[in-house]
Each structure stands twice: as structure tokens, then as C-alpha cells.
């Protein structure tokens, strides 16, 4: 009982400290992780096995961690090293691409292709945001898209806010479509043994269907604010030449090849048996080996803080799992729903969405995975259906508010720094209805397809 109380207290303190922003979030999770090891596993449980299971280091030295013959999953308990290695690998690849000017080049190429007309830019940037976020973390996608949008807005004299808000929403939506699009999906995929294809054919279809509806929705929401005729397209073409975005032609070509390789490896990983951990490490090594003199710059730019944040977080959630608290939550959901799958899905999707709109969706998803696992084991519910429900709920819920997902914070901040502050009211006006629409579409899809 003491272990349960301690684990839960540490978890609540961790969340409160993350919200307070008194310290950097990786210090918080690492500190709370250390407290979990000492107080929960050491003082209270006196369990070496719980400690070792949570550290989960032994798993890295097994063949199955790098190459799997049948669909097997990483132990969901403790630090999910596959997620950490995959994220690190993708971060290194993305930094290489950014350094070569890939993202800016892509934005400029699309803007040029639609002849710098505002509404076509608005529509194509939404789709581009969705597609890029399927493979690359949404923070990077928005970092570049929002910056180019502000630049275009200054030249074409339109209000960038509607475009940035739509791009943010579509980036979060795109992230939900694949296993590598959003951190909760990577954690769900690696913990429960689902492949890239599993995600694309399940959450991916829901996301694409939602994208069509959302593009139409945002078009009708913002068309009046954006219906401004573009002038002097020729002058703009000179100022915004896509070629000028490329900083190093050789690095640009190499980064494009690596990106295509990464996508191909991810799409085929169920067939080849290569795990996401392998793909992450492979992509990172290739990027670094081909980076030449830029290797130092790329390594410096990697977001180590996020990786450390994940490690600490997994330990704290491991504490909750080892003490059996998450089983209690699972049993509670099972009891409320009375084994009714319709109700169970509605509870998971809406609670995940509402929670993710206000708190970081990564700790939430990490906490919920053992919950749905227990729920499936105790009620006989199909685990994959619960997994898709959880993924959509956490990924999409974050779109509703300016603090729901990292991409929202980055996008609104870039807009504000250029003189376009975005209040909660302005943000939520279109994003809350759009979130509700997507959650409803996904819920109906889940009901019709799986039940």
C-alpha cells in the first residue's frame, strides 16, 4: 500500500512540476524517476527485480530488440529503449535535413507551384503539414512551416494566423496516421508490437478521412480572412527562390536519399523484421557518416532534453505499473463500462482527448498503455481496437488548445514573435470544433469497422 501511495504521489508531483515549469521538464522526470527507484522500488518494495524490469537494459542486448521474426513486442514495463533510440535516430536525420535546407526548399517549391496565391498555399500547406508529420516530428514540421508562412504573409500581405492554426492541426492529425508520427504512437507501437503498416491501415485511414473533412472545415472558417489577391508574383519568385533555400547541394541530395530510405524501411519493417530501434540507429549512423564537417553541428542540435525526459518518464510510469495502480484504473474503466465495448471506446477516446488537450499527451499515453493491456486481458476486449482508440484520442485531443501539443506551442510562439499573438479564444475558436469533429469521425469509424 505504501508503495502505491508513493508511486502515485511521485506521479502527481511530476505532473504538477511539469505544468508549473519551475524546472526544465527532463530534470523533473529524471528527478521523479530517481525518487521512484529509491522510494518505491528500494525503500518500500525492496524489489531488485522491479528495479531491473523498469530499467529494462537487458532487453537491448536481445536479438528481438533489433530484429524480430514474428510480431513480438518490447516489454511495456519500464524504459522503452526502442522509442528512445528511434526518436534519437529520427532527430539526427531531421537535423541533417534541416541543415541542408530541405524543409525551407519544400515550402518554397510548393508556394511557387501554386503561383503564390493565398488560398492554394493555405490548402497545399495543410496537406504538406499532414504528410510531413506522418514521418517527422510535428515540432520540426511546424517550426519550418510557420516560419515560411509568416514570411509569405509579410510579402503577400495576408494574416498568417489562420494558416498557422490550420497547419498545426493538420500536423497533429498527420502524426496520428503513422507509428512514427507522434511519440504516443511510437510508444504504443513498440510496447504492444504493432507495425508501421498496422498504424497506417487503422489510424491512418481515420486520419486521411478526417483530413478531407478538416480541410473543408478550415477553408470555410478562414476563407474570408485569406481571400486576398497575391500581387507581384514575379518579384516574389525572385525573393523566395526554392534554390536559395538549399545551403549545401551535396548534403541536400544525401538527406533526401536518407529520408526516402527511412520511409521505405518503416513501411516495410513488418516484412523485413527490422525493428524501429534498428531503423533509428541505422538512419542516425548513415546521417552522421555522410555529414562530413557538419557532424558536430547535427549532434549539438539533437534534442537530448526530450530523450532524457522520456527516460525519466518511463521510470515513473514503471513505478505505477509495478505497484499495480494502473490495474486499478483499468478495472475501474471495465466496471463503469460493464464490459460494453461501445462504452469502453467512448470512455477511452474522450478521456484521452480531453486529458491531452490540457496535459502532455506523452506521459498520458505511456500511463494508459498498461491500462488498456489490463483492460483487454480482464474484459476480453480486442487490444488493437483499444490501442487505435488510445492513439487517436491522445494524438487528436492535443490539437484543441494552444498547450495541448508541442507543435501548438511552437506554432503560436512563432506567430507571436512576428507580431501576431494568438490568444486562447482565437486558437480554440476553430480548433475545438475541428477536434470534436475528428474525434467523432474516428469514433464512428471504430464502431463501424471493429464492432
Amino acid at each position: 500500500m505504501l508503495a502505491k501511495i508513493l508511486a502515485l504521489s511521485i506521479f502527481i508531483i511530476m505532473f504538477a512540476l511539469i505544468i508549473s515549469e519551475k524546472f526544465e521538464r527532463h530534470f523533473i522526470t529524471l528527478g521523479c524517476g530517481l525518487a521512484t527507484i529509491v522510494l518505491v522500488f528500494g525503500v518500500s518494495m525492496r524489489s531488485m527485480s522491479a528495479f531491473l524490469e523498469t530499467l529494462n537494459v537487458r532487453n537491448i542486448f536481445t536479438v528481438g530488440f533489433w530484429y524480430e521474426t514474428a510480431s513480438s513486442s518490447e516489454s511495456s514495463s519500464g524504459i522503452n529503449w526502442a522509442t528512445i533510440l528511434f526518436l534519437a535516430g529520427m532527430m539526427i536525420m531531421v537535423e541533417g535535413m534541416a541543415l541542408a535546407g530541405f524543409f525551407r526548399w519544400l515550402c518554397m517549391t510548393i508556394a511557387k507551384a501554386v503561383h503564390y496565391k493565398v488560398i492554394p498555399i493555405f490548402l497545399t500547406f495543410m496537406v504538406m503539414s499532414f504528410v510531413l508529420a506522418m514521418f517527422i516530428d510535428s515540432i520540426t514540421v511546424i517550426l519550418f512551416l510557420a516560419a515560411v508562412t509568416v514570411e509569405l504573409a509579410q510579402l503577400l500581405k495576408f494574416n498568417p494566423i489562420p494558416m498557422i492554426l490550420s497547419e498545426i492541426f493538420c500536423a497533429n492529425l498527420g502524426g496520428s496516421a503513422t507509428m512514427c508520427g507522434d511519440p504516443p504512437n511510437i510508444i504504443i507501437g513498440t510496447s504492444l508490437g504493432y507495425t508501421f503498416t498496422d498504424f497506417v491501415t487503422n489510424t491512418g485511414l481515420m486520419a486521411i478521412l478526417s483530413l478531407v473533412v478538416v480541410v473543408v472545415f478550415f477553408y470555410f472558417c478562414y476563407r474570408k480572412q485569406l481571400s486576398h489577391p497575391a500581387e507581384h508574383a514575379d518579384e516574389l519568385a525572385a525573393k523566395l527562390s526554392p534554390k536559395s533555400a538549399i545551403t549545401n547541394k551535396r548534403a541536400f541530395i544525401i538527406s533526401c536519399i536518407i529520408f526516402v530510405c527511412a520511409i521505405s524501411m518503416l513501411i516495410t519493417h513488418a516484412k523485413t523484421g527490422l525493428t524501429v530501434a534498428f531503423i533509428g540507429v541505422f538512419i542516425a549512423l548513415v546521417t552522421l557518416l555522410t555529414a562530413g564537417k557538419s557532424i558536430g553541428t547535427i549532434l549539438k542540435r539533437v534534442d537530448y532534453k526530450t530523450l532524457l525526459f522520456f527516460i525519466g518518464l518511463f521510470v515513473v510510469v514503471g513505478g505505477l505499473e509495478q505497484t499495480g495502480i494502473l490495474e486499478l484504473i483499468a478495472m475501474f474503466i471495465g466496471k463503469i463500462s460493464g464490459g460494453n465495448m461501445y462504452l469502453m471506446i467512448a470512455i477511452i477516446i474522450w478521456i484521452s482527448a480531453i486529458a491531452s488537450a490540457f496535459v502532455d499527451n506523452i506521459p498520458f499515453a505511456a500511463t494508459m498503455i498498461p491500462v488498456i493491456k489490463t483492460l483487454s486481458a480482464t474484459t476480453g476486449a480486442d487490444l488493437s481496437v483499444l490501442a487505435w482508440t488510445l492513439a487517436i484520442g491522445t494524438d487528436i485531443g492535443g490539437s484543441a488548445t494552444p498547450i495541448g501539443a508541442s507543435a501548438n506551442v511552437v506554432g503560436t510562439s512563432i506567430a507571436a514573435r512576428e507580431g501576431h499573438p494568438i490568444s486562447w479564444k482565437k486558437y480554440c475558436m476553430a480548433s475545438v470544433p475541428a477536434t470534436i469533429i475528428v474525434i467523432l469521425i474516428s469514433m464512428v469509424c471504430i464502431y463501424l469497422r471493429y464492432l
Binding site: 532534453k305 494552444p402 498547450i403 508541442s406 506551442v409 511552437v410 510562439s413 507571436a416 499573438p421
Partner: protein, 207 residues
């Protein structure tokens, strides 16, 4: 003005600090920046200053804001940083000006030509002045003073390591209630002249 002069003036609400700043700007014939700073920032970014004004000198809402890799969704925080950057730019360009509030004493502390002043006042005098200036009751004036001072304090202490109004943070802290606003401005000007004179290397040796 040959040598750069930046006067950073912090103030308690109702102390008349803003009037002191205005008198100093007139005396030294240099521009006065307060909320009008946003006008220059807005024109630089081709946006409407009114859109920025509502977030001026306000602390961020802790529960409604989040920071990711140095990016914050808080409009208040972003507007504050825009002003800080603008002030740093003016300072680096060697321009002289008076700046009211906006954490300038901390933001520009590396510039030796910046002189930091804090104007405070006795509560009774602040109430009387607020009642007169805003034509409101005593209760409303007390509420107004408390509200504005609380907001300024939170705003300042969020961005600065030192505390708002703490005399160790300023070169000169002066109570305007004791000698009146105009005389306060005179004393401050005397201090500024002495300080500028003494900052000259030759004069320092002589002193």
C-alpha cells in the same frame, strides 16, 4: 546628446513615476518609451499595435501557458520578449532614451550608460493621486493600486532574477511622496548628471 544616456525607470502605481520619466525625457530631450514602444515594434512587423497592447506588461498565465524548447504559447511572454529585443537593439545602436518599466534595468544592465531609477510612494499619497487622476472613489483607488502593483511585480519577477522594487536592483530608489513629483525629477536629474560626470575616466581619477 553626445554620450548615450538610457534612463530605466521602474515605478509603483500612483507614485507619479511616469510623470517623472516624462520630465526627465523633456529635460534631456530624449525619447520616452512606455507602452508606445509597441507602436514602433508593430510598425516594424507591419501589424496593428492594438493587437499587442492588451498583453503589455502582463505576467503569463501559469495554467494556460506552456514552454517547449524555448517557445512559449503565452502572448504576454512573447510580447514581453519582443519589447526586450527591441530595447536591446536600441541600446546596441547607441540611442538615448527613457524607458518606463519593462524590466529595462535588468535587460540593459550590461550597458554602462544605463542608469536605473525606482520611484515609490507612500500609500496615502498614492491613493490621493489615483483618486484624482482617475476620478474614482478611495476603495476603487486602493483596488487599482493593488492590482497594478501586483501585476507589475509578477511580470518583473518572472523575467528577472532580482525582485521588483528591491533597492539593490536600482542605482537610486526615491520616494516621490516626500518631496513631490517635480522635485523628485530634479533630484533624479542631479543624480544622473553627477553619475554621468563621474563616469568619465578623468573625473573618476580626480574623485
Amino acid at each position: 546628446m553626445s554620450k548615450q544616456l538610457i534612463i530605466s525607470l521602474g515605478r509603483e502605481f500612483g507614485s507619479g513615476g511616469h510623470v517623472v520619466a516624462k520630465l526627465l525625457a523633456e529635460h534631456y530631450q530624449i525619447p520616452l518609451y512606455d507602452h508606445n514602444l509597441l507602436k514602433d515594434i508593430a510598425s516594424e512587423h507591419h501589424v496593428d499595435a492594438e493587437d499587442l497592447k492588451k498583453y503589455d506588461e502582463h505576467p503569463r498565465n501559469l495554467l494556460l501557458s506552456r514552454t517547449v524548447n524555448g517557445f512559449s504559447n503565452s502572448p504576454e511572454e512573447n510580447v514581453a520578449h519582443m519589447q526586450f529585443d527591441f530595447l536591446r537593439k536600441l541600446s546596441a545602436k547607441g540611442e538615448s532614451f527613457v524607458i518606463v518599466g519593462r524590466c529595462a534595468e535588468t535587460i540593459l544592465k550590461d550597458n554602462p550608460n544605463m542608469i536605473s531609477i525606482f520611484v515609490l510612494g507612500d500609500m496615502e499619497q498614492k491613493i490621493a493621486r489615483t483618486m484624482e487622476c482617475n476620478n474614482i472613489s478611495r476603495e476603487a483607488a486602493i483596488k487599482m493600486i493593488e492590482h497594478h502593483n501586483k501585476t507589475r511585480k509578477h511580470y518583473h519577477n518572472h523575467y528577472c532574477e532580482t525582485k521588483w522594487g528591491d533597492s539593490r536592483n536600482y542605482e537610486l530608489s526615491i520616494n516621490s511622496s516626500r518631496i513631490g513629483i517635480r522635485e523628485t525629477a530634479n533630484i533624479v536629474a542631479q543624480y544622473i548628471d553627477t553619475r554621468r560626470n563621474i563616469s568619465e575616466p578623468d573625473n573618476m581619477l580626480r574623485g
